[in-house]
Structure formats: structure tokens, C-alpha cells
């Protein structure tokens, strides 16, 4: 990509227009548009909960409701072993980031289609849409943490809070890279093939069962682990439990794989997005 051929006689060759801006790094372009990203994020959040009586409480209700359902089903009926940790907090610590991930994917997939009117009318780098979509969902995640704190207090006798809680930050970073990378890919493909929109809920469902959310990682047969842990979310979810509930360190080698896969997804997703970007306004 990006080779500059200056022979104008070659019809059909796409030269790089506006070479000045192409030289700017991706991050610099984003920094220039930070206020636009902030505005779009605010619009996403405001519009999501306006005209609903419970408002932002809905952001808390979804993981809370799932926590209760799963607790009843998997703790009282199916009796999944949790290594002595009460099931509600055991599942919530994974459900919260997973809900963020899953709703982030579903709304992120729609971010270009939903803003198509703007795409055909005004130019700015289109990556602001996926970024704003993911940022908008991060606010839900932050609100969900408000529920986590009283849960940890209630079950304080069963969990070991140590300084390792701080490792949540790099874990979230890995998760957000993966989410953003996938949002880049899915939102742009969804513009061309709306099949993506219909496939997403199904894929997310399957993915959830392949990730230790309702069960613990130690229930996964050892021989499957090398393949199972290629799913970065598996390692991230397990690590959340370790650093917050058990006070232990993540499995560094698996976390390394997760970090590499997530970073690669982000880079590939971003490049794919920028490659398709010129065609966005032309899809009808």
C-alpha cells in the first residue's frame, strides 16, 4: 500500500491524494480529531438512554440480571465448582468485561451503517466511528464496576484483594485492543455485507461458551488448553479472576499470547479499515 506512482497516463491507478496527511501517523490523526470523538461518544451515550425511565441503570441491569440467572442455574442447579469463591462474584468479575465486549461488538458493527448519512456528506477520518462506539461502551463498563465494589465488600471473607488488582488496567487494554480491532473489521464489512449484522449475535453466543465466564478455566481439559487459550478473551477472563478475586498473578505465557493476538487484530483491523475506507461513501 501507499506506493506513489506519478505517471498520470496510467488510467485507473489510485494515486495517493493529499500526501501531506497520509504522512501523519494514525495516532496523530486521532489526536487531531479527539474532540470529534468526544462529541460522537457523548452522542452515543446520550441517545442510548434518553427516553428510558431507568436511563443508565440499564447499563448495570444487564450484567446484574445475568449474574442472578447464572447463579441460580450454575450454582444451585448445575453446581459448577468455583474453588471456594461465591458464584455471584465469581461470574460477575467475568460477566462485566464480557458484557462490555459483547455489546461493544454488536453496537460497533453498526457504527458505520448507522452513520452512513454522515459518511456520504462530510469527510473526516472514519475510524472515529468505531473508536467512539467502543468508548461509549466503556462508560457502561465503568458503571458496572460500581456494582463490583459492593459485591467484593459483601464477599470480602472469600476473596483476597491485593495490589495485583492494579493489573486490571493492562488486562482491559488487551481486551479493548481486541474489541477495537474486531470493530474495525466488522463495521467496515457490515457496510458491504449486512450478513455480518445477523451473524454477530450467534458468534458472540458461541464465543461466550468458549470463554471461562460461567465456568472456571480449571474445568477445561488440559489437552484442549493450547487451542483453547488462543482465544485472547479466555486468558483475559481467567486473569481478571486471578488478579481481583484470588490475588494471584496471571499466567504470563498465556497472557503474552493474548496480548500478541489482540495487538495483531488491532493492527490488521485498522489496516483493513483504512484500505476499505475510500469505498465507504460509494456503497449504496
Amino acid at each position: 500500500m501507499g506506493q506513489a506512482v506519478t505517471d498520470k497516463s496510467i488510467v485507473g491507478h489510485v494515486e495517493e491524494p493529499w500526501p501531506e496527511e497520509r504522512k501523519l501517523g494514525a495516532l496523530k490523526i486521532l489526536w487531531q480529531h479527539r474532540e470529534l470523538i468526544a462529541s460522537l461518544t457523548r452522542r452515543d451515550i446520550r441517545s442510548r438512554y434518553k427516553q428510558s425511565v431507568l436511563g443508565v441503570a440499564w447499563a448495570l441491569l444487564q450484567p446484574l440480571a445475568m449474574m442472578i440467572v447464572y447463579t441460580v442455574v450454575f450454582s444451585h442447579i448445575a453446581r459448577i465448582p468455583t474453588g471456594g469463591i461465591p458464584y455471584p462474584v465469581f461470574t460477575y468479575i467475568a460477566l462485566l468485561p464480557w458484557t462490555f465486549f459483547q455489546t461493544g461488538l454488536t453496537t460497533g458493527t453498526e457504527c458505520l451503517v448507522g452513520n452512513f448519512n454522515l459518511i456520504t456528506k462530510i469527510y473526516f477520518p472514519r475510524e472515529v466511528f468505531p473508536i467512539a462506539a467502543v468508548l461509549g461502551k466503556s462508560v457502561d463498563l465503568a458503571l458496572g464496576l460500581l456494582v463490583l465494589v459492593p459485591l467484593l465488600v459483601v464477599y470480602r471473607d472469600y476473596v483476597h484483594i491485593t495490589w495485583r488488582v492494579a493489573l486490571v488496567a493492562p488486562l482491559l487494554l488487551i481486551q479493548i485492543s481486541l474489541l477495537l480491532g474486531l470493530t474495525f473489521i466488522l463495521s467496515s464489512w457490515n457496510l458491504f455485507y449486512r450478513d455480518i449484522r445477523h451473524a454477530m449475535p450467534l458468534v458472540a453466543q458461541v464465543w461466550m461458551f468458549m470463554t471461562p465466564i460461567i465456568y472456571g478455566l480449571d474445568m477445561v481439559p488440559k489437552r484442549f488448553l493450547p487451542i483453547y487459550m488462543l482465544n485472547p478473551m479466555a486468558c483475559v477472563m481467567d486473569s481478571f479472576r486471578r488478579v481481583v478475586l484470588l490475588g494471584t498473578l496471571p499466567n504470563w505465557s498465556y497472557l503474552g499470547i493474548a496480548a500478541v493476538v489482540s495487538a495483531a487484530t488491532l493492527i490488521v483491523g485498522y489496516r483493513n479499515f483504512k484500505r476499505l475506507e475510500p469505498a465507504f461513501a460509494e456503497t449504496v
Binding site: G12, P17, A38, K50, I122, A281
Partner: protein, 431 residues
């Protein structure tokens, strides 16, 4: 200093007659060739814009104006060639882009402003100006979904008008709405240009607006620039091409739009003796003959034509549907005659755009159906005319030194010979 340089830019669209509908279809498509057609919306277009210039881009519908606009604003990228711009480009293509109905006017100012490229600090400092420009002080904290469409447009325009770019690109769709709104829009563009030496690019059909606002122009036809230079020359060249299009013959011309359920085959002018001519005399009876074919067996249709003068201003619009004339079921082909008892046009060249409307939709519309000249006048005794710069149409009148009851005046009662029973308000008659 050059602020925009367009270097042999072409833009190709693929008219996908056979576009994959979904992933499965796309997968099957790997094994067979798709029937796609290339369409060059722009072919090897080059021009430069200097700082402080006001460039008008004119041309027919579908000539490539909008594509040029989208390339200049970076919404689309050229297929080949290069566009260089220097300075902040702001495009006013739509009023109120990105407005969110649930958010208040104030919140939408920030949102829309940042979409248009303003920083928050900049919007903050201009907030009061924007609100007062929009005349929405009382409603600024109301969600915009409660706004009337006029309020919505005012707010959108107020934000757009306060963007202060080095290069302002304006689409004519911005100038829709009521006349006052259009004036405000044009006035603001004029201000932007003269006060700060900004560069303005204006894409429009409205030749009068282009002339008053722009210093230079380019005329695009079928994807190529056919004329460029001082705006008056370009507008004249554009009108000339419209006239040349008339010579192709109405039945064959492809410069038309509409559903095609009926077609105009001929529009011509007849003088008082019923002879076809393109040289008419003001004040003489004149007939416009419109011929049609009706392959679809349409029963009822409306015939309309608009007369434009040399500067592209519509002088009058004559609409069969506004008169009491009812033609009865249409034939497979036929003619309608519209008679104007005294042609009320000053000397000059005119263009007629004609359309057939079936069920509220254009069945056929031809922008330049015919061209005629008014070469002399018998409108006033002595054959004189008012100076053309003060006059686009002539009005029948009489003078007296006593008050008169208007109903008793000769032309109000129809002292002129009128050919039909069903009189339109302007004295035009269909049959």
C-alpha cells in the same frame, strides 16, 4: 497562491447490474463473471483555485458536479489523478449533519460544530452568535426533535455559517428552503469571501446566484470541463451548450429525465399565423406546441413548461394543471397547443424546459426543449421596450388621470381575441 489544485482527476463508478446481495452470492460470484459497467463520472479534469477566488461549478444534472464536490471535500477519492488542497476545507453539503433528535439545540451545536471541524473552544466562543443567528434563544435547551423543520434548518445553517475555514465548499442544496433563508445563506457566503479573503467554491444550478457570488467558473459536461474562466463567459458558454442540445431534436436527445411512461417528441413555437418560428415578436399572439407519444397508454397527464431567460432566471412557468382545461383521455400520440395572446417578454434569447407529469411524477423532463429569440416588439405602441436590466417580463397596463374601476379596463375583460373558452390567469390558453 494556489489553494486547490486538481490534476487530471478521473472518477470511475462501477454500475453493478449484478451486485452480490450477500456473502453466499459473493462466494458464487468467484466462479462466474459479473456483468459490471464502468461509468466515468469525471474524465481527466484539471483546474486550480487561487486564494480569495470564488469559483462556481455549473453543469447539467448528472454532468459530474456532485462527484467533483465529493472529491474536493474528500468524501470520495479519485480513481486517478490528484487533488491538493492547502488550508482547512469545510463543506456545507447538508444542513444539520449528524443532529441527534434527542439532544438539545445547544448540545447539537457542539456535536454538529465538531463534525464540521470546529474545536470545542471555538464553538464555545461563538455559541452566543450561533444562537442569535438562528433566532432560537428561547428554544436552545429544547431537544431538536420538538423543533419545526424551519427551526431545525436555521440551527443547522447557523452552525455551518460560523465555521471559518480557509476554503468553503457549498452545495446548492444548502440554498433550498424559503427565499429569505437562501438570501441569508448567499449573503453569509459573500461576507466570508470579501471580509477575510477566503476561497469559496459554489456548486449550483442557479446561474443568477453563481454570477452574483462567483468571480470565476467552470462548466462541467459529461464529466469534462467544457469551459473555464471569468464567470460571465462560463455562464454564457453553458447557456450555449443548452441551446446546442436543442438542435439534436427532442425525440432523440438523451439529456432528459423521468419515468419514460410518456415522452415529449417536439416542442415548438408558432407565430400568430400558426407558422413555426424561433424569432418572435413581443406583444404578438404566440403558441407553444407540445407533441407527445404515449406508448404506455396513459390516460391523464399534465403538461408544464418553464421559460428561462439568458441569465438562467425562470421568467414564467406555465402549467396546464392550473387552468380549467381538461384534455380528455390521451391518445397514443398527439399535440397540445398553449396560446399566449400577447407575448410578454422583452427582447433576448430564451430557453424552454418542458415536462409531462403523470400522477405527480415526471414522466419526461427536458431541460432545454427549445430555444427562441424575441427579436422585436409590438407590445407597446411605437415598439419600444424598457431597459433590459430593469425588466424580465412585460406587464399589460394602462394609464389615466382619473381613478378607474379596474374591472372595466379592456384587458381585464378580455378585449384581446382569446382562442378558447378556458382562460388561465395569465391569459395563456390550452387546446
Amino acid at each position: 497562491m494556489k489553494v486547490i489544485s486538481v490534476e487530471s482527476v478521473s472518477k470511475k463508478f462501477i454500475l453493478a447490474h449484478d451486485r452480490p446481495k450477500d456473502l453466499a452470492d459473493a462466494a458464487r460470484g468467484i466462479f462466474r463473471r459479473r456483468k459490471n459497467e464502468d461509468f466515468w463520472a469525471l474524465k481527466d479534469v484539471s483546474f486550480d483555485v487561487e486564494q480569495g477566488e470564488a469559483l462556481g461549478i455549473i453543469g447539467h444534472n448528472g454532468a459530474g458536479k456532485s462527484t467533483m464536490l465529493k472529491l474536493l471535500t474528500r468524501i470520495m477519492e479519485p480513481t486517478s489523478g490528484r487533488i491538493r488542497t492547502r488550508g482547512r476545507v469545510s463543506a456545507l453539503i447538508e444542513v444539520g449533519a449528524g443532529f441527534h433528535p434527542e439532544m438539545t439545540g445547544r448540545e447539537n451545536i457542539y456535536l454538529n460544530g465538531s463534525i464540521l471541524g470546529m474545536s470545542h473552544a471555538e464553538i464555545h466562543s461563538k455559541l452566543d452568535d450561533i444562537i442569535s443567528f438562528a433566532e432560537l434563544e428561547r428554544f436552545i435547551d429544547t431537544p431538536v426533535k420538538r423543533y419545526s423543520s424551519g427551526m431545525y434548518a436555521r440551527l443547522g445553517f447557523a452552525v455551518a455559517a460560523h465555521v471559518d475555514p480557509e476554503i468553503l465548499i457549498v452545495d446548492e442544496v444548502l440554498a433550498v428552503g424559503d427565499l429569505e433563508f437562501q438570501q441569508k445563506c448567499l449573503q453569509r457566503m459573500q461576507e466570508v469571501r470579501t471580509s477575510s479573503g477566503r476561497t469559496v467554491i459554489f456548486v449550483s444550478h442557479n446561474l443568477a446566484a453563481v454570477r452574483s457570488l462567483c468571480t470565476t467558473g467552470i462548466c462541467i459536461k459529461a464529466g469534462s470541463i467544457i469551459s473555464g474562466g471569468p464567470v460571465d463567459t462560463v455562464v454564457k458558454d453553458y447557456l450555449d451548450t443548452l441551446e446546442r442540445d436543442c438542435e439534436i431534436g427532442l425525440a432523440e436527445t438523451t439529456e432528459r429525465s423521468g419515468t419514460g411512461s410518456m415522452r415529449l417528441t417536439d416542442v415548438r413555437l408558432l407565430d400568430g399565423n400558426g407558422c413555426a418560428t424561433n424569432a418572435l415578436i413581443a406583444g404578438e399572439p404566440t403558441t407553444v406546441k407540445m407533441s407527445y407519444v404515449n406508448p404506455g397508454g396513459v390516460k391523464r397527464a399534465n403538461f408544464i413548461f418553464t421559460v428561462y431567460n439568458q441569465t438562467g432566471v425562470p421568467v414564467t412557468n406555465i402549467d396546464m394543471g392550473l387552468t380549467a382545461f381538461s384534455p380528455g383521455p390521451l391518445q397514443e400520440s398527439g399535440d397540445f397547443y398553449c396560446t399566449i395572446p400577447e407575448l410578454p417578454l422583452p427582447t433576448g434569447r430564451y430557453r424552454v424546459a418542458a415536462s409531462i407529469v403523470v400522477g405527480g411524477e415526471n414522466a419526461d423532463h427536458v431541460n432545454s426543449a427549445t430555444v427562441f429569440d424575441v427579436v422585436g416588439s409590438r407590445y407597446f405602441e411605437g415598439g419600444k421596450m424598457p431597459p433590459s436590466r430593469y425588466c424580465t417580463a412585460l406587464v399589460a397596463h394602462s394609464w389615466s388621470s382619473e381613478p378607474v374601476v379596474a374591472a372595466e379596463l379592456p384587458f381585464a375583460a378580455g378585449v384581446l381575441e382569446r382562442p378558447g373558452e378556458h382562460d388561465g390567469p395569465g391569459g395563456a390558453t390550452w387546446n
